[in-house]
Symmetry: D2
Subunit: 150 residues, 4 copies
Amino acid sequence: MAVDAHDPQAVADFCAAAMWTDDHASRQLGMTIDRVGPGTAELSMTVTREMTNGHGTAHGGCIFALADSAFAFACNSHGPRAVAAQCHVAYLRPGRPGDRLVATAVEVTREGRSSIYDVHVRCAGAVVAEFRGHARQIGGSWLDGVAAQE
Amino acid sequence: MAVDAHDPQAVADFCAAAMWTDDHASRQLGMTIDRVGPGTAELSMTVTREMTNGHGTAHGGCIFALADSAFAFACNSHGPRAVAAQCHVAYLRPGRPGDRLVATAVEVTREGRSSIYDVHVRCAGAVVAEFRGHARQIGGSWLDGVAAQE
Amino acid sequence: MAVDAHDPQAVADFCAAAMWTDDHASRQLGMTIDRVGPGTAELSMTVTREMTNGHGTAHGGCIFALADSAFAFACNSHGPRAVAAQCHVAYLRPGRPGDRLVATAVEVTREGRSSIYDVHVRCAGAVVAEFRGHARQIGGSWLDGVAAQE
Amino acid sequence: MAVDAHDPQAVADFCAAAMWTDDHASRQLGMTIDRVGPGTAELSMTVTREMTNGHGTAHGGCIFALADSAFAFACNSHGPRAVAAQCHVAYLRPGRPGDRLVATAVEVTREGRSSIYDVHVRCAGAVVAEFRGHARQIGGSWLDGVAAQE
């Protein structure tokens, strides 16, 4: 297996594929990766009845999980392994069973081992939640042991 | 069915029971309610392999969901229905498959329709995550239509 | 005095001027308004020795105040009076006496009476702090009692 | 000069005194240190007309600065030098000229080089703001070069 380490899009695609293999949680929730790129990711998920809380709306943890996964794919898109250090979420609209939620992560800043990403969660264009995640690198890269493409 | 609206513990127990019935998300994740009280709640959950992410550790969304549920039971413990407006989480230690996570929510402040809760998520006493949630009342009460106990 | 309520830039300019008159705190700290627009504002401030803390760097409160003022001018730029409900700041680099800090606020989302703004604080292009503010309208408008321009 | 490094209260007092000397910002705003202890600090400040914003109430940056200083004295109370990494503040009531604000910082958790503190800002007992600060140690200690007391 090989990847062109000088092609940011190829690196992002490779890291996403490597992460996705073991991302049981995101797959269990029915998420799909719509696209990834250097510092960005878009994932979507349909709210099911199993995701509802005592109010009959999407559990905040499920909306958060979608945003958190988009954040994770975005902050790991450059190669080095990174994890969430802190996150903040604001809920603007409830999610309901059947809603297709789309989470779009964009890079705000990246400095040394730290980075910040904003994730917009929308349903049919309307904002459901705004998420900001702070990541830190933990050492190692998704490209470790991968042959550089010639 | 009846509840003594002047007994804060009875109200908290009643609200928790009413919410739990429809909280498919928390039950799906295997959470248990260890105790609730006026402004407080303690829930626990065991990290399963299905909750792991691409790093092999508990998905941030699953840890968040446990904290968020503890927050939800605490902020709904007084009767009036309340939902999360904003939440912040800091991850201090990774969770691993088999870990039993315990989330303890305590009330920081409650003013009019707004309230703030802190949730500590621990595993065997060590802090896994610190969560702060801001709730707002949405109208209505879990006690609406319930006969007051004589 | 009159303002064209259908010209978003004119409204932003008018609101900024009205707020600035009584903004003793921002003026006391030596801030200048570089530009405002609909949903945006850019303010700058030079770190003085009087703004330093026990570490000899800019007190976090001073950096926050600059970001908060940029946020305030941005979230009040549409006419309705709005105040900060919650704010989050991450410090990436220390500020030092003599540094010229520039805070740029942009609108993330605006829904009903709530809105979210991101503020980037930079010094010579390098990120010093990332700020996110949540505002809510409190009733009334900066345009109340102002003649509409014909 | 000497300090008993095994007496947490003596260490807290010493660190506070060392920091205060150069804390021009806190002194400029008229803050006073009411008390410090291991992991705690209480500071107060009177809102002046120079601290008001365009709404005629205390500028959020001034309320934040008071909370941030209480946080700083608390997170530096153990000896090692620490700075703010991230902070979150929620405003519950406006501050007005003449208000005496009291900020009380308490330690939530301390793990390795990271720590979290909650700061309650009150006026005559009523909550004005709730602040949460995340600190990280930057190397060095306020006790470096100080003779240990025998």
